[in-house]
Symmetry: C2
Subunit: 365 residues, 2 copies
DNA sequence: ATAAATTTGTGCGTATGTATC
DNA sequence: GGATACATACGCACAAATTTA
């Protein structure tokens, strides 16, 4: 047997959803409800109080109890699922491709998509996570911010896990958390890039790496590993590292200095196509010919690669597909009560795309 | 003097935010609270009941009352504003540019951005609006869906207005609603395109227009108006209209048929660069040389324009700037208690960008 | 325009049920 | 099993806002 207040609540919700009483229409008074349900005023007040906090009805002192204007939709809303997507960027660079994959997939399955971005700023990741937790979300696709460092927001992520909200990461993963991740094999990508340059006869290699996310660290380690395998011991000046915040400030002059040295590199592997573009521009200003005097290879195979002159050799990976896969996985988890195993994670194979910005080493030693 | 239950609530909220009791920590029992505040059990239960529905605390029958894990953040969340953005698309075509403008601006002002898309589907606009209304949003930037037709979702939009939630539209506007709108002068854009083709000596003009959004209607009217001003009376076969849903299905064959006619046009104005690209591809297949045998002009000056061979002549307008302006306007409205006037709307001036896809008419008559 | 009636809001007391420890 | 603590339920009195006569 149900509690009495529950019976009252269910009846009134029923009035609302069947439009027996329409939005803003007055329903019976407390004393009438007492008689109708044969219960005390306390019970009626408890029931109405619950309905008010659920926003099915609202009360006006001295006037009456009225149906809320959203009451009819409440039941439908229970069936529309919200997937939150929190990435470092939304509208820049390769992110539209990734998000397009998610958007298309989620649209087909009638899911709603809530997108936010962190600008690779931990504080913003924090406030966005809080915000999402306050909303009712049914799943979360997260690109970790500053993934090279231990996450300061691990508490919120654990909160999501403890609430059993389906949760997957893209582009990077958390060693502390057991959640499926979809990411590129950046280590292998770094090896591929180094191998390409070495096979072209280059020995004075340089790598430029972002070191505040794990993608950069992995690409750097792959690059160094491949150099060592080919007996090209990496020396400190071969590796230029930077943080996200430096892109607009100190990084360009660092690159310029590296290109001004007498024994400048004959080939550079850049963290991504954006850095490759910056490097190309600096080389142009220094009258260094690409690729004859300097080979440049990027990463991500973005639209920038074919917009640059010369077209950029780059490491490619399936961006839109990762978005699709992430969306399909989160849908699967939502339908499966969040049960997953190691097989749900995907490590994408990077692929070398040779264009015009790399060529055989013709420097005189 | 406050009500007693309010005093109890405030004290307990204070315990939570000052971390006198930490998340998941047990607070005094109901009878202890009765003694502490010198009130009845009923008053304590009323206070705790409110705090439960506000998610500051949770109760376990037989055990006690505990601080919720989000309690500490509740106060901060009141200060983070959420701006919802609902557009037809997010990650396609010119939308990343528009959204980048919003994202950058809102990020700088510490606003959170909630993005959703409708795919130009009225049902999806409907469910997304419901969803946003259920969430707590502080402002809405909306691109109307199927803006050539009277909006079926006008009820929800009126709901937003009656709640005094700041609300602006982009790309199109609602004649039924008094809200600021930021949009391109599509009529003038249509005139510009027609004028360019006519000034190149073309007289057999054709226009391809999407007619389920007002942008297409306005561009068509501008095109026709300019033709008439130049004594080139538009005949039915000069105007090809289509609906969003036809792009992947019947539209290409319609275009192909138009290009196969004996007296085919010597110049075509396309609703946007995507349609221009489709038209160009069809023309290529029919061995029609662009621009020698057929001039093509697009609209939007998207990235497609410079990716096509030959580069596309197009009508340009400030996309990222519109995003920035929309974000700044919604921030202003949020800070100004939603007071606006006609001066807040912006009509952007379209600009002709001549590239390689249009040339003088050299067809023999 | 005012007073009375109606309706919701606050607050106290009591009894009994049920889950936890 | 017993004590504790929250949950449900009834009743009463008065306050405050609104509606109606």
């Amino acid at each position: 047997m149900k509690h009495k207040y529950e019976e009252v609540e269910e009846s009134i919700i029923n009035w609302a959803v069947t439009a027996k009483f329409k939005p803003h229409e007055k329903i019976p008074t407390e004393s009438e409800l007492m008689k109708m349900f044969n219960v005390s005023r306390h019970t009626i007040r408890k029931a109405i109080g619950d309905l008010v906090s659920m926003e099915y009805v609202y009360r006006i002192q001295g006037s009456g109890i009225y149906i809320s204007d959203l009451a009819e939709d409440k039941e439908n809303l229970k069936n529309t699922k919200n997937v939150a997507v929190l990435t470092t960027h939304i509208s820049n660079y390769i992110f539209p491709s990734i998000i397009k994959g998610m958007e298309d997939t989620l649209y087909l399955e009638s899911y709603s998509l809530l997108l936010s971005s962190t600008n690779n700023n931990v504080m913003f990741e924090n406030s966005n996570l809080k915000n999402l937790l306050a909303h009712k979300i049914d799943g979360l696709i997260l690109e970790p911010t500053k993934s090279a460092y231990p996450s300061q927001n691990i508490g919120y992520l654990n909160n999501i896990i403890s609430r059993n909200i389906p949760f997957v990461t893209i582009n990077a993963s958390y060693s502390e958390l057991n959640v499926p991740s979809l990411r590129v094999d950046d280590f292998k990508g770094g090896k591929l890039a180094a191998n390409h340059l070495i096979s072209l006869g280059h020995t004075r290699l340089m790598g430029i790496f972002k070191v505040d996310d794990s993608q950069g660290i992995n690409r750097m380690n792959g690059f160094i590993s491949e150099c060592q395998s080919n007996n090209i011991p990496p020396s400190p000046w071969q590796i230029l590292t930077y943080l996200s915040e430096e892109i607009g400030s100190s990084l360009p002059s660092k690159i310029e200095n590296a290109l001004k040295t007498k024994k400048r590199p004959t080939a550079i592997f850049c963290y991504n196509d954006e850095i490759a573009y910056i490097t190309l521009t600096i080389a142009n200003n220094l009258n260094i010919k690409i690729p004859e005097e300097l080979s440049i290879i990027g990463f991500d195979d973005s639209h920038l690669a074919v917009m640059m002159q010369p077209n950029l050799t780059s490491i490619s990976h399936p961006k839109e597909q990762m978005g699709k896969d992430a969306a399909n996985l989160i849908i699967k988890l939502i339908n499966n009560n969040n049960s997953f195993d190691a097989g749900d994670s995907i490590l994408y194979e990077p692929k070398l795309i040779v264009r015009e910005s790399t060529c055989k080493n013709i420097a005189k030693h």
